[in-house]
Amino acid sequence: MHLAVYLPLVMPLLAAAAARPLAGRLPPVAATWLLAGSAVALAAASSAVLGLLTLTALIRIPLVGAAGEMSMQVISRRDPASVPVAVAAGVLLAAAAAGACRALWHRTAALIAAGRQARRLPGAGQVVVIDDEAADAYTLPGWPCRIVVTAGMMRALSHPERQVLLAHERAHASAFHYLFTTAARLAAAANPLLRPVATAVGYTVERWADEHAAAVAGDRRLAARAIATAARAATAAPPRRAEPAAALAAVTRPRGMRGAGPVPRRVAALLSPPPPPRLLLLATAVLLVAAAGASALEAARDLNGLLEFARAVGTS
């Protein structure tokens, strides 16, 4: 097995570094599909390569080799991968499988709980206003999704700003954004190197909904202002058990937009013209991910060839 087998293991590092810049430069719909798709493809490719490397260690065990009627001479002469590498791969693969199963379990439970809650909310309409002074608004995934807005948030916004908020949340609901974020999170659970990619997907679905809301309102500046007003209201009257993002972000003083939180970045994006398609950048990213997938397939074919040869020698 040649060095290309390690490409799917290295690619997640590149993806992690590129995720945030890509999320900022590409149009949000393309960025969401690209990043979520890459996360899933790279998690699958890296796990597959770990599996192949583990397999090369297993077939060196004489008992396994004998059971498969393979020639040990052929296997050890071809030296597919060193034993320490294969053992490390096996450990990583087990960790990846455990992480993915755990995340799948938790995420499924949370989605079921949310879906059940979405069905139980009072009223028949998609939007539910709840009598809560905290300023909060979110889409509850479900079948169908429900949009929850607190009375505190409604009061904080002007009428046109409310239309922006509702258009934003409707975009989440109708495009099933939780499927993208869930897929990316599961990929990141299998391969923790992909965590920045999953975070970037969380940002791009917000941008997707922002662009949709701006298009519905026909006013990018109004959309930007609605987000800023809502964020200020949420800071002044925070929802219970809100994430301590404010406390955390206050420690790292941003210089320009580099260290800025998601809200200022979304507002800045809306104050600029809509992002251009950037097809070349998109194509390059897709090609790199495809290369990782192809090299995982190539490695699988390689190992298969070796096994068949070993078996042919072993049975002859």
């Binding site: 059940r116 009072p122 539910v128 999170r185 964020a231 949420a234 219970r240 993002a245 406390a247 260290g259």
Partner: protein, 139 residues
């Protein structure tokens, strides 16, 4: 009284009922009381919930929901009668907060419109939108 004793002896249904998560049971009991439209004693709640729940289990769930402020109760003879607290949307909010707070994935599952702002983010927003400094003075 007969009911109580038979249930405490342990019925085959108990094992199955115990497997159902406590949260699910609470939600079921709440739904029954909301659908009833009048205060119910534990015995009637137990019949309507179904699933072979023990009388004592139903009483425990009812008192737990009462302690959480989700149910109101009044003395009726020797037992209590339970009813949901009046405000439906408020109840929905509390129930939702309870269900979702228990989940590690809460933030990931909800697509929240905005997160809170750090003071640096607030400054940044003010500069971008050309707003005057806030009462605490923009640094």
């Amino acid at each position: 009284m007969h009911t109580v004793m038979r249930d405490e002896a342990g019925q085959p249904g108990d094992a199955a009922a115990a497997r159902r998560a406590a949260g699910e049971l609470e939600a079921g009991v709440l739904a029954v009381l909301q659908a009833a439209g009048r205060p119910l004693p534990p015995g009637e709640v137990r019949e309507r919930v179904g699933g072979g729940l023990a009388y004592t289990t139903v009483v425990t769930i009812l008192s737990r929901l009462h302690a959480k402020g989700l149910l109101q109760r009044r003395k009726a003879g020797r037992a209590y009668e339970y009813a949901p607290v009046a405000d439906e949307p408020g109840l929905a909010a509390r129930r939702m907060a309870r269900v979702l707070d228990g989940e590690a994935n809460r933030e990931a599952v909800l697509a929240r419109f905005v997160s809170g702002l750090s003071s640096a983010d607030e400054d940044l927003l003010r500069r971008m939108l050309g707003d005057p400094p806030g009462p605490d003075g923009g640094r």
